[in-house]
Structure formats: structure tokens, C-alpha cells
Amino acid sequence: MIILFGLLALSLCLGGIGLAAFLWSLRDGQYSDLDGAAHRVLFDD
């Protein structure tokens, strides 16, 4: 039974971290220029 509590908390934490990471990347403008990102990779210097 105790393991259930632990696992539930763990899964929620992991999901929460993912959500927070996504919201951060969204605020950081990482989705504002998807075309540019695809091309920039070819010109790294």
C-alpha cells in the first residue's frame, strides 16, 4: 500500500517536471521560429 503512495507521488512529480519544462520553453520563445531552427542547424559557427 505504501508503495502505491510513493509511485503515485513519483509519477505526478515526473509529469509535473515535464509540464513545467514545456511551459518554460514556450515562454522562452523556442516555438516562435521552427523554420529558422531547421535551417540554422546547417550553419553552425
Partner: protein, 783 residues
Amino acid sequence: MTAEVVRADTLAQATCVHCGEPAPAGHRFCCPGCAAAYEVIQGLGLGRYYRERVLDPAMRAPKPEPGARADLERHVAALDDGARELVLAIDGLQCGACVWLIESVLAREPELLHGRVNMTTRRLRLVWRGQAERAAQLVGRIEALGYRLVPFETSALAAAREAVTRRLLRALAVAGFAAGNVMLIALGTWVGARQGMGAATRDLLHWLSALIAVPAIAYAGRPFFGSALFALRQRRTNMDVPISVGVLLVTGLSLWQTATGGAQTYFESAVMLLFFLLAGRLLDTQARGRAHAAAEELLTLRGGDVVVLGADGTLVRRPQSAIAVGDRILAGLGERIGADGVVEAGESSLDTSLVTGESRPVAVGAGSAVFAGTLNLDAPLTIRVTAAGNGTLLAECVRLIEAAEARRSRFIVLADRVARRYAPLVHLLALGTFLYWVIVGGAPIADALLVGCAVLIITCPCALALAVPLVQVIATGRLFTGGILLKSPTALERLAEVDTVVFDKTGTLTEPELRLAGRPDRDALREAAALAAASRHPLARVLCAAAPPVVPAAGAEEMPGAGIACGAARLGSARFCGVDAGAGEGPELWFVRPAHPPVRFGFIEHLRDDAEATVARLRKLGLRLALLSGDRPESVSRIAAALGIETWQAGLRPRDKVAALEAMQTRGARVLMVGDGLNDGPALAVASVSASPSTAADLSQTVADFVYQGRALAPVAVAISTARRARAVTRQNLALALGYNGLMVPLAMLGFVTPWLAAAAMSVSSAVVMLNSTRLRLARAAA
């Protein structure tokens, strides 16, 4: 055979090393600007640009253009930390190499804090420390490479759209997080119920689900709740009303079940429903936003900017809206006049086709009244502005358009029409089920409520709400890649219903530029073209294009407003060449040289290359065709006859075009109006749906439901057939969604639907609708 001719031509014609445009034989560059740009790029050690770039012939070549600079300082914003910011739209951005080149050049500027190109939106954002005046220098650096930069101010509409997209994306993330976790817990309870899980554990899991689901629904459901509330306040209903009612009721019931220790909760259904719906809505907003932004950018770049002559003789570019009565403006050769006014200095002829539809140039001199939107053909003009804002021809057109657009906004999209009938039916059905179970079946109220809610979940129009936007997204995306920018959300549906296509003539069926008439003597043409190469006059350009390869004559000299002289040879107006000839049909150039009789080059409008094929294709789609033009009857009848269009009217003013369209529509016709002129604006607004080529007047592009790019007319036919196919798929989707409901609702009413069945049924029906929609993507572009 043609292929060989083309090859021979390209061999004989050198191309400019920098911009890729034709260059004079034996030269590496087409102009000094390109040579300078090449020097700068090589000097900075960025020669890699030339190896990596891919020039797209459909785009503007990276050719530096001398001329007045835009008034930049007005657009520079001061940031909180004292830095300055300027956002510009870039014209001529071709590929990743351009991005690299611009950013590499900017990286060498010491004070620049941020100089980054956004390739999706084609914007350049500059942030620097120092004076606002630095802007001109920075922009000049990039313009010298051949790009054109225009200060860009995000319109309120675009900013709002961006905010909506971000809010949807955040809501989607929250809904996705909640759906994943709640579904996982729900799986546990379903399996646990078979393996004898204790009631206490089950309740714990239910509480945990509620803890995740309720805040998530409150947050992620807001786009739907807001829209539903708005509709209800207006005493209307839309698709969001049944969605909101369904989600809220299901959540409420599940909460109640959780609190009272009930066996079944539907949190996972509610959250998953929101997730699917948000995904559909986000795709919809993004696809449309992209097309809309592209159309907007087209207008920014073509710039309604006007060159204003200051009191001290300086030249400044200003947007049309910043022009005042009494300003003196300059209209250069080949430029559109920016405001209504009176000519103060200069003599020229004007192409008024965009304003009146008339294809023959009109001569103007000091004292002549000129209108905004006309094209200056011969020589620069100085114009004193007499009308700005209200009172201009433009303003009258705008008034007509506003009146017409109010009428068109009554169109209701198919999804909402279905929802309007569907929602009350569903709610009645759920209520009826509940009452039946209580009164006739004698069931406890809690159980009856559970069954009633199961009906609501099953009928919650998840598939229905996905059915329409998904098709819209795919169709809009397909049109977008074909260079057709859909601006109105309802345009696709209105386009599918069209049964009549009305064309404007000048610039729509015909090409915006004139062509050489007849087959002049080859030698005369070659010699005349050699002289014409010295001029930027539109007719001279046409002459050069007709006789490649052109070797410019040495010593050719242009007399502004008259013609070109080179030794004894002269090219220009009849008066300039000393030829005594009456006014000919249409614009003309005369060419005289020693020991030869004078040669006349006439110019006529030319049909777009695929006009005939497109007209034939439209006929095959079962559409009636008509031609409404402001031009003279002779030229209209010639074009109508060439295309076999029987219904045509000539000499129409904007008001007359509106009347003609209204007459057709009262007879029950659904009209697609295709036009490019200022004079077409009101007609475009009156028609049930409208289209403009991207070469059209700004006003027409603003009004038109879709704007198509490129030189072809074919996009009109492509758009109609895509719209019709989209309508067919939409109907199939609706039928699938309703059919699924017909199958599942009886089960729900009988009380057989358990939470896991509801969740599975919902996912399956959504998946089926999605798969059916992707058929539209697979279908071939040509119909």
C-alpha cells in the same frame, strides 16, 4: 525546340554573380550595387554564402536598390534597460544561407546586443545600445547586401492572434499532462475493480484524479467556456455550448460521485475530451494565422510608403496614413502614386488601370489631378496632396466596402449550423433519459443521473468538433503551399458553394504588364532594344524582354519624359522621334534611325498564360463565367471573345460593378469575384466570396477572402476544387460522427456505458474522423 532556344538564350546571357539576374554580356554583375554587395561579402570572409544559397526564382532577387530610405527612427522603441529595439520585415529572404549571412554581418557590429532573423515570420529584430540614429546605419548594412527592410509594427489583430495561440498551447499542455495522469489512475481503478480492490483505495484514486482533473479542466476549458458564454449572452448557440455543458456536467457528476464514495467517475473522459478539442482548435488557429500573417506581410512589404519632399529638400519615406493635405510627394518612375493630389512639376503618363480599369495610359502635366493607386509611367512627378483620409477616391471605395462586409458577416459556418440543431436535441435526450429512469424505471436519482450523464459524454461532440476544423486545417495548409492565402475562416465553405465566377479584366485575366503587339521586324527590334536597355521606363523594359539577349548601345542617353537618343537613332514618343502620326490604339513607342523608315512598336494587354486553361477548367467544374470591367468596350470584348466568355460588361464604375453583382445574387447566384483593382474593392466585398492576385491594390487584398501569389490564374480553379473536396470530406466526417452517436446513444440510454467504454468510444470516433480527414492531404492537387 523551345527547350533549345531557352538554353541558347541562357548561354548568351550572363547572370549576375550576386543576385542571379541577367547581366550585360561580358559583365560579372548586373549593376554597381551588386558588385559592391559582392565585395562586402567577400571582404568579410562570408563567401560561403554563395556556395550554400539556393535562389528561388519566384522570390525577389537580392539586388540592392538605391533610393530613399524608410523613416526608421519613428519605429525605434526604447527598452527598459536603455537599449533600443527595432523590428523589421525582410524582403528577399530566400533560404537558410540568407539568415546566416545577415546574422554574420550583424555579428560584426560592436554595439549590437541582438540581431536575429526569425525565418518563420521573416522578421529581423535588432537590439542595440546607443543612439536611435544608429538604426539607419545598421539597416543600411543589410540593405547593401540586397535585402529590403521595412519597419514592421505588429497589428493589434496579429498580436491578439499570437496571444490566443499561446493560450491554447498552454491549455493543451495542461490538458495533456492531466489526461495522461488521470488516464493512468483510471486504468488502475478499472483493473482494480476486477481484482477486488478495496473501496478505500478506489476512493483514494478517485480523489487523486479529482485533484488533477478539476484544476486542469478549470484552466484548459477556458477557451470553450468563454466562447460559449459569449454566444449565450448574444442569445445564440455555437459548438462550444454543448461542449461546455457536457464537460461541466460530467465533471460535476464525477466530483459528486467521488465525494459520496461512488463506484464510477468520468474524470478521464472529461480531460481527454478537452485535450482532443484543444488540439483541433490549436491546429485551426495556427493554420489560419499563418496564412493571414503571410497576407499581412505582403502588404507591409509592398509598402504603402510614400516619398515626401521636406521643406529643406530632404526625402523621407512615410506610410500613407502619415501624409497630410499640402504635403509635396514624389512619384518616381514606375512607382504608384501614394495620395490624391495635383501635379506641381513634371510631365508624364499614368497607368490608371488599377483605379478605373482603363488600360490606355493617361497623359498628365502640371495642374492635372491624379489619384492614389495610379502608376507613373514616364517621368518623375512632384505632386501636392489635395485629399487625405475622407474625400479621396480610396475613402469612397472603403465606405462601399464597409457597407457590403456587414452583410457578409451573417454567414454561419456549417459546424455551428449543425451544432445549433444538435445541441438542444442532445440535451433533451439526456434529460429524457434521466426522467425516464426516475419516473418509469423507478431508479434512484443518483443512478439515473449517472445514465443521463453517460448519454451526454457519448454525444459530446468531440468527433463533431474535430470534423470541421481538421478539414479546414488540411485544406488551408494545402492551399498555403500552393501560394493561396486564405484570410477568412468561413471562406472555404463559401467557396465550395460558388456557382458563378466573375472576373475583372485588367491585371486579373490579363498580366499586370503590357506586351509587344504583333511581330515587329527582328533587326529593328534588336536595335531598339539596345537603346531601351538604358531606360527603366516600363515600355522600354517590355521591349528589352522581347528581344533577348540585349547588348546595351554605347552612348545611349535618356531624356526624361520623352525618349532615348543614341547618335542619330531615337526611341520614344512620336513627337520625340519627329514622326507625324495620329493617336494609335494603345500605348506605343516609335523608333527612328538613319536610312530606315520609322518603326512603330505597339503594346497591348496580354492574357495570363494559363487564362484559357483556367477558364476551361472552371467551366468543367460547372461554373458560369462573367467579365465585369471598367475598361473600354473594344478591349473588353476582345478579351471576352478570346476566352469565350459570353456575359461581359464594360465601362463600369465601382458602384456599377456592385449593382451588377447584387443583381446576380438576388437571382440566387453565389458569386466568386476575382479582381485586383481599387475599383474592384467594393465588388469584392459584395460577392459571396472574393479573390485577389498578390499584385493587386492594397485595398483589394485587404478585402479579398483569399490572395493568390504568382503569375498564374490557375489558383482560382485550384481553390474552388479544393474547397469542394474539403466540403465533401467535412460532410463525410459529420456523417461518421453522427452515425457513431446513433450507434452508441441507445447503449448509453439503456445504461450499458461504463467509464472505460465511454473513454474508448470517444477516442475511436475521434481517430476515425482524423484518418478520414487526412485523405484530403493524400488526394492529388489537380482535380
